[in-house]
Structures are given as C-alpha cells and as structure tokens.
Amino acid sequence: MKLSHLLAAAALAASFAGAAIADGHGKTKVGFVYVGPVGDGGWTYEHDKGRLAVEKEFGDSVETVFVESVPEGPDSERVMTQMALGGADLIFTTSFGYMNPTINVASKFPDVKFEHATGYKRADNVSTYSARFYEGRAIQGHIAGNMTKSNIVGYIGSYPIPEVIRGINSAYIHAAKVNPDVEFKIIWAYTWFDPAKEADAAKVLIEQGADVILQHTDSTAPQAAAQEAGNVVTFGQASDMGQYAPFPRVSSIIDDWAPYYIARTKAVMDGTWESIDTWDGIGAGMVGIGEISDAVPADVKAEALALKAAIADGSYHAFTGPLKKQDGSDWLADGETADDGTLAGMSFYVEGIEGDIPQ
C-alpha cells in the first residue's frame, strides 16, 4: 500500500510538474512588426488595433510585443530574429517589403509561426494574408468618378507593387464607368509613411487640377492638404480617418485585421496552425467601407452601397470583362472575371490610364 501511495504521489507530482512546464509555456507570445508608427492613423494603426483585439480576446493567456517604424529590408530581419529569440510563438510581419526577410528568418526558426501580410511567398511555417482592398477601391472609384468636376483624379501611390497597381486599376475602371472623361494623375511617393512628402504630393496634384485625391500611403497628411485646399475630395485609407469627415473625407477603406489575428492566435494555442493563404474582402469583413458622408449626393451613395452589396455577396467582381490592358491588348472577355493568380501578380495598367509603371 505504502509503495503504491508513494508511486501515486510521484506520478501526481510528475504530472503537476509537467502541467507547470506546459503552463509556463502556455502564455502564447505574439509578435508584430510594423512599418510605420502605431499612431500613423492609417495602416499600422489598424494592425495595432488588431493586436489589441488579440490581447482583449485572450487576456492573460497571451502576451503581445510589437516593434514600430521598422524599415523594409535587412533591418527588419534583425527585428524578427530578435522577436523569435525572445520566445515569440507567432509573428505577424505587416508590410510587403518584409516578404524575403520573413522567409529568411522563418527558415532559421522552424518552430515559430510567421504570418506575412500582402506577400506571396509561403513556407511550412509562413502563412500569407491580405485583404482584397481593390474591392473597396471599386467603390471609391465609383464615387470619385461621380464627384470630380475637373475630371482629374489624383492618386498617391507608394511603391509600384501588384497590391497598389490593383488598387489603381480597380479605382480607374469604376471611375471611368460612370465618367468616361476621367483622367488619373499618379505620383509614386516611394514611401509608405512620410507625412511631409505625402502632403507635398497631394498639393502638387491639387495644383495640377485634381479635385479628388486617392492615396495608398499610410498617413492622414493628404487629408490635411485637401482640407486646406477646401474643395477637394479624399478617402480614408486603411483606417477610417473619420476626423476628416464629412469633408474632405467622404468615405474610406477600413482594414479589419482583428478577427484574423484572433483566429490565427487561437490556432497556435490549439496546435492547429497550418500554413495557409488568406485573401478576404468585403464579404468576409476584412475590408470595411467607412460611412459615406452626406457630401456625396444621395443617388451616388445609393449606387455605391449597391455596388458594395453586390461585391460582398459575390454577384459582382471588381475586375469583370470586357477589359483591355493599357497597350490595347485583350485581357478579359465580356463577363469574364480575373483569376486570383493574375491579380496577385498584377503589373500592368488597364486601358485608359496614362503613364508607365516604374519597374
């Protein structure tokens, strides 16, 4: 009896110890690498909202860390390595330029899970995720085409990557649909976040006649420039940028990363995490459309909301033929929709847009 007691006690102790070890590691550590400051009011701000949602959802069983304003390139590799060495179980790298660094670091830490936003390279421990921002761009284009009086729409691009080019094409297609005379002036800022440069770019576009500004950069500086000009329409980018509503900001594309971040953190906790490719849009809620303000005429607003509903339920695709490429060659036949592969690697303008894409 005594021996069995002893054994039982030992077994119990062992199981406790095991539980204790498991518990010590039970706190899942999630890291985030940001390209701008969390207070940029746009892209990084929304990712950080996602991080805070993860903390709220899981409370004490999760620990999050983040590093902001990490330059794309080799420096980001150092930051990711540091995070992995610091015991992170899951690392979200939230900018296109982190793609190769993420793959490099991931190969050195096979036990750590990585999630790269907006890229296309995956590995056993690297997932990719992105949102179909171009669906939101379609709605912006529709409103922009209706709202412009000068028929000049200014577009502040960041880097000439498929993600940004998709947005330009989608906005142009839907602007030209309601306003065949519309012309897009595009400036490549070669930065995601530089308020002074973004403001300068917006001012230049306004000086050259644009009365609608679309931006694919992260700060609210173009909104401030448009507000100063007085009669220029803008759209919130990545975040609602509601502080500039109802005018100049008449609507916005809102990235909602929280559900995805929560789901992926849960998957790591449950041990069910797998390398996947997620590309969700308005329908799944990853892309939100900020309230369309009263500065937009009621009929345009109604059309825009109908367009949103059609995209959400899948009855309409933002890239539906007939569409031609910029050089006049056929791309999509009547009624044909673009496949994800083409969209993911998009490196051409559609017919009607002037200028070249920098290589």
Partner: protein, 362 residues
C-alpha cells in the same frame, strides 16, 4: 501631357516652402558642428519641436507662439545632450542617437491627444504692393514669416561666423579646443550655447512641418528629415551659403520631380547637356567671385565639361524619352550630392575638434 499643367509660380513658391525645414535644421547643426560638437539628435529635436509647437499653437490659437514654443522645446531637449556630452563627457555619437530615439518616443507620448486636430493657420505675411507684383510677388514676397526667418538665420550665421569676434571664438573652439582653452575661452559654455542654438533651429524646422507644411500632428512625421539635414551639413563643407544652396536644391528637386510625375512629362535628353553647362557656369562664376584663386587646371576641366555638354546637347537635340519615375525619385539626393561634392573640391574640411570630448585636465 505637357509642361503647361505645371504652374511655375506655384512650383517655385512650393520649392522654397519645402526646403525650409531642412534648411533650419541644417543651419542649426552647422553652428553646433563648427563649435566642434557632433549632435546626431537632429531628428529627435525636430520631432520634439514639431509636437511642442503643435500643442502650444492649438492651445493658444497662435502659430507664432507655437513656433516660439517649438524653438524652446528643441533647445530644452538639446540641453539634455549638452549636459551628457559637456558635463558628463559622454560619447557624442551615442548621446546623439539616444537623443533621437528619446525625442521620437517623447513626442509620440506628448502628441497622443492631438492626433486629427487642425492647427490654427499661419497667415502669409502681407507686404502690401510688393506681393502684388506679377510673378515676383508670389515667389519672393508671398510667404509666411518663418521662411524669411530661415533666410535671416542663414545670413546671420554666415556674418557672425565670418565677421564677428564671437564667430571667431566659436570657430576657434571647434578647430582646436585645447588652444581655445589655453587662450581663456570657456569651451564648455560656448559649446553648450551652440548646442542650444542648434536645438532651437531644429525645433523650428520640425514645427514648420507640423504647423505649415502638413498641418497636422502624426507620430514620427519628420520621417528622416533630420538625417538629411545632417548629411547636408557635411556635403556643404560646413559653410552656411552652401547649406542654403543644398537645402533649396534638395527641396526644389523633390517638388519638381513630384510635379513632373503628376504631369507625365517626357524627358528631353538634350537637357542633360544644358544642365551640365549651367552647373559648370555657376560653379565657375561662384569660384571667380567668392573663392580664392584656383589652378588653371580646375577651370580647364570646367571648360572641357561645358564643351562636352554643348556637343551632347546638339547631338541629342529633339530626342525624348519618358521620365523614369525611379530616377526621378532618386534625383533630389543625387543632384544635391553631385553639386555639393563638386563645390567642395576646394579642400574644405571638417572642424578640427569635431566630435571630440573636451575636459580642461586633458
């Protein structure tokens, strides 16, 4: 699309406006470095100035009070640097980098409740009939007071360094602090004052971004301007007028390239040749007027380049290629460096004691 989409008057006014933050920060750093101190904290002082100016301007409703607060804020932060490097003799490079990180964090904290607020607008100075002169009016007389203040600081710095006793003492401290000390000058006090001046100028430059150029507060909104200002001081060979030239070149070409992108202008190849000729002529006349005598060889090379430019222009007359956006984007950096490097062929060098700590017992 053609050049007619670009309004040259607005463009030149925008060029001057875009250059001002870099100019202010660089001229401040120039004084600091001429006193023999390397302060790498320009970015931190700028962003601190940006947030201080913004907060005070919003609360008082006066942008001018905001600018004063920005100068004070920048100076206050630089005082920390002065204490570290002049009193505790900490390493200047490390202290400067720390100052930048500290400034970025501090400004983010201070500015948290100011995101999305619109600051009071700075009115352009009204110069009566002067502003109404066609073309020159808007270019020269249509700006806000800070732009003129920036030019005034450059002129004042140049005159002080060159003609006054105080300037001579400051340069002596920067060239050889042991000798200056032996002559009885208060090395630490002079350096501290120079650092404070640099901080105030950087603060003004930062506030120019948050109050006029963007107008709003966003975390990290200076986005590296401080580093460009630092580089500019070196490329300008620690000379005030070259800092002005460099800042205007950088800010100007940035504006031009944005304009060219938006207008979708094609690039006349022959303009490369014309640019070379213009640059050579400017350098030659600059040297003839301001610099000491040059060797004959120097002018021979300039002449050679100009003639090459003429042939180039004739050969490629009428040929055009579309502007490559990637080259446009790098052009501000490239052109500024090329021009200033050519100018610094006159063997200008850094102040002798730059970056070295001073203690009377050493």
């Amino acid at each position: 699309m053609d050049l007619s989409a670009i309004n040259p008057i607005l463009l030149i006014a925008a060029m001057i406006a875009a250059s001002t933050p870099i100019l202010l920060a660089a001229i401040g750093e120039l004084v600091v470095e001429r006193a023999g101190v390397l302060n790498l904290g320009v970015e931190g002082m700028m962003i601190t100035g940006a947030v201080c100016g913004f907060i005070i301007a919003v609360n008082t409703g006066s942008p001018l009070v905001g600018f004063i607060a920005a100068a004070l804020g920048g100076a206050l932060l630089s005082f920390l640097f002065a204490f570290l490097t002049q009193v505790t003799l900490a390493n200047q490079v490390a202290s400067g980098l720390a100052l930048t990180l500290f400034g970025l964090g501090l400004s983010a904290l201070m500015g948290q409740s100011y995101v999305g607020i619109k600051p009071p607008q700075m009115v352009d100075t009204q110069m009566g009939f002067l502003s109404d002169i066609p073309i020159f009016g808007p270019i020269i007389f249509g700006h806000n007071i800070i732009i003129y203040l920036g030019l005034l600081i450059v002129a004042g710095t140049w005159a002080t360094l060159k003609f006054t006793r105080a300037g001579l003492v400051l340069r002596a401290v920067g060239e050889n602090h042991d000798a200056a000390h032996a002559l009885g000058y208060k090395v630490k006090r002079i350096r501290t004052l120079a650092i404070l001046f640099g901080g105030a100028c950087a603060g003004l430059g930062g506030a120019y971004i948050s109050l006029i150029r963007v107008p709003q507060w966003t975390e990290g909104m200076t986005a590296g301007v401080g580093w460009i200002a630092l580089a500019l001081v070196v490329f300008a060979s620690w000379k005030p007028w070259r800092v002005l030239l460099g800042a205007y070149l950088f800010g100007g070409i940035t504006q031009v390239q944005l304009n060219l992108q938006a207008a979708g202008v094609v690039f006349p190849v022959s303009s490369i040749g014309i640019t070379i000729i213009i640059i050579c002529v400017i350098i030659a006349s600059w040297n003839l007027i301001f610099a000491k005598k040059k060797s004959r060889q120097y002018y021979f090379w300039l002449l050679f380049l100009s003639i090459a430019g003429v042939f180039f222009t004739i050969f490629f007359q009428g040929a055009t290629v579309p502007f490559k956006v990637e080259y446009l984007a790098m052009s501000p950096y490239l052109m500024t460096i090329i021009v200033l490097v050519i100018l610094s062929a006159d063997k200008s060098r850094a102040p002798g004691s730059l970056g070295r700590a001073f203690h009377a017992s050493q």
